[in-house]
Symmetry: C2
Subunit: 370 residues, 2 copies
């Protein structure tokens, strides 16, 4: 559907114009029927992806979300209800609303619970595609807490020694606050690679690394054209990635009573009218419950300084989780957010449908890298 953002034909929206991109998204979602909270949350999550370089979960999803709202899969004006609250835990029923609204709301509750209990854990029911897991973990870290977010998703990853799709890419995201800097931010699929990478290697005509993808019959392949499912993280030790995907499954689906990955309707359709009944899970940990906040922050600083000073391989650089994303954010704020041609075309169509002016892409800059 989309071309990877490193594609030379990509165009970019200058980040001085990121506000216009954001406004366009909110306008489109609103005119597609989304209530204000839904339009705001879905846009915030997509802008997280587009600003930090996680384009698979960026603004390219706008047209898909419109289709899901119009089709009835996603409730455009859901009532989110806390159906249960026990101590440091809660269950949020998202009313088949947008997954970003559900996840941001759940993390708000988790942060509130952590304020009185030291931690807050919120299980999300009746949700939908939630996009970039890192966005919700980050929402806790921005308030000084450690945040964790996970969500299972439709089958796309083989099991270790398995020959068919089973788990989704089931991301795990964790963020931790850093004094005077951007948060430590780990946002990882539990698959060996993302489907985006398969698409990138297809467009570059470059083989995949061994052990990261499989053909339709489950046999390992390095040919991106033959790759039809992803392998779990770990290569020959893929039971680790599959186990981490299982952790996501247990927290997102089993603890919420929602669908396990093989039961979730495919994201791309054709059915865009039935709610997907997805679960998700967020956790917030207040470091201040364990030790003085400044001691925690000093520890983070000491850890990150040691890590960044660790000896790199020749020509390489050692990075902490998030370093690459924050640098990409800075670059995009300067040079623009790349918009792939399919997304740019969808914007024109959406603008026509809703009587809006599409954000004007600027010619893409050359140094965009995957």
């Amino acid at each position: 559907m989309t071309v990877h953002n490193s594609h030379p034909e990509d165009e970019a929206v200058l980040c001085a114009e990121a506000g216009a991109l954001r406004a366009f998204s909110i306008d489109v979602l609103s005119r597609a029927g989304a209530d204000a909270a839904t339009a705001e949350a879905a846009t915030r999550a997509m802008m997280h992806g587009s600003c930090l370089g996680v384009d698979s979960h960026g603004i390219r999803l706008l047209a898909h979300y419109v289709a899901a709202l119009k089709g009835g899969r996603v409730n455009p004006a859901p009532t989110l209800r806390l159906v249960r609250e026990v101590g440091a835990t809660a269950v949020l029923d998202a009313g088949h609303g947008h997954g970003a609204l559900a996840a941001y709301t759940a993390m708000d509750h988790a942060v509130r619970l952590a304020g009185s209990h030291g931690t807050g854990a919120v299980a999300i029911r009746n949700s939908s595609h939630f996009g970039p897991a890192g966005a919700y973990a980050l929402a806790a870290a921005e308030r000084g807490l450690i945040g964790l977010a996970t969500c299972n998703s439709d089958s796309f990853v083989s099991l270790h020694d398995g020959a068919e799709r089973f788990h989704g890419t089931n991301p795990l995201a964790v963020a931790a606050p850093v004094a005077g800097g951007e948060p430590w931010l780990l946002d990882m699929a539990t698959s060996a690679i993302t489907y985006n990478r398969v698409q990138l290697h297809r467009s570059l005509g470059r083989p995949l690394d061994p052990g990261v993808a499989a053909a339709e019959d489950g046999s390992a392949t390095t040919d991106p054209e033959r790759a039809s499912m992803l392998a779990p993280l770990g290569g020959p030790y893929g039971y680790k990635g599959a186990g981490l995907a299982g952790l996501s499954e247990i927290l997102s689906a089993v603890l919420t009573g929602m669908r396990i990955s093989p039961e979730i309707l495919p994201m791309a359709g054709p059915d865009l009218s039935s709610p997907r009944e997805m679960g998700a899970f967020v956790l917030a940990i207040d470091p201040g419950a364990f030790l003085p906040a400044e001691v925690f922050l000093a520890g983070m600083a000491r850890y990150l300084a040691a890590l960044r000073q660790s000896r790199p391989l020749p020509g390489a650089r050692v990075l902490a989780p998030g370093d690459r994303e924050w640098a990409e954010r800075d670059r995009r704020m300067r040079d623009g957010i790349p918009i792939d041609p399919a997304t740019a075309a969808a914007f024109v169509q959406l603008a026509r449908t809703y009587g809006l002016t599409p954000p004007i892409p600027v010619s893409s800059v050359a140094e965009k890298q995957p």
Copy 2:
């Protein structure tokens, strides 16, 4: 120090005699000065390793623990104190005691906290080597809760793009209850492989998989003789494994105010007298806080049935986390616990020192596999 248990010269203690092995361990630790709680907890953790096939953290550690107790590194009779308790969280000061005593005690508190708050999170201070992380996660699952345990350790794993040891093998363990069966149990190092595997490949003269280990200068190697550090999980995507190791670091060391991995004294010495000031972290989640326990258990059963029925690669079998370990436990209960020659020799020495009779190994059976 030890030979991998698949070594043909291994001997075994029949599991009808596992009680004798356990009793020997408790007697040795007690005579080395450990109080009853320490001897019991350290033995329980080692027997977890020896029964489930995690021999690196099994009974082979007995002589090491005796040396640490005698040397003064580990306090043989510590006072464990809850120095802080806020809502669903607590901080346990382990008084430089044995890490297994600290971790089991912390998980007891976490389970108690989860009883009233839905979750319980306990940060452990002033601890030491805690052995098999899975043992403590399992302690929660045996009581119907989801358990998580992690601990950082002395530097042995390079960073992604790094050329020196930085993180420890920093395990993450999670366990979840299963009705009428053994718990789902994920116990994984965040390194690509364990050092045990390097030793195994050395003894077999077999090359390592690419991307799992590095030579002293940090360059990747498949030669087990040259391997002097491990790579983070993920091969070319090792930032994932390094990020997961970082999660362990943040929870175990930063949230506890303890040492980060590069600051921890090497396990093997030469200094066996200074406390290692290690932290660790455990979390217990009561599914019953989120939904009826029977719904959770039905969900686990549905998930595991789907997983085990997933199509395998030709000649392979799809397993859930823990399946291999529980099968190994059954095999060892039947055929015996393998005792490597170095450990058997250490037992004879310990028995002589403390006036005890060593457990009698039986000849090892042939089918032991790594």
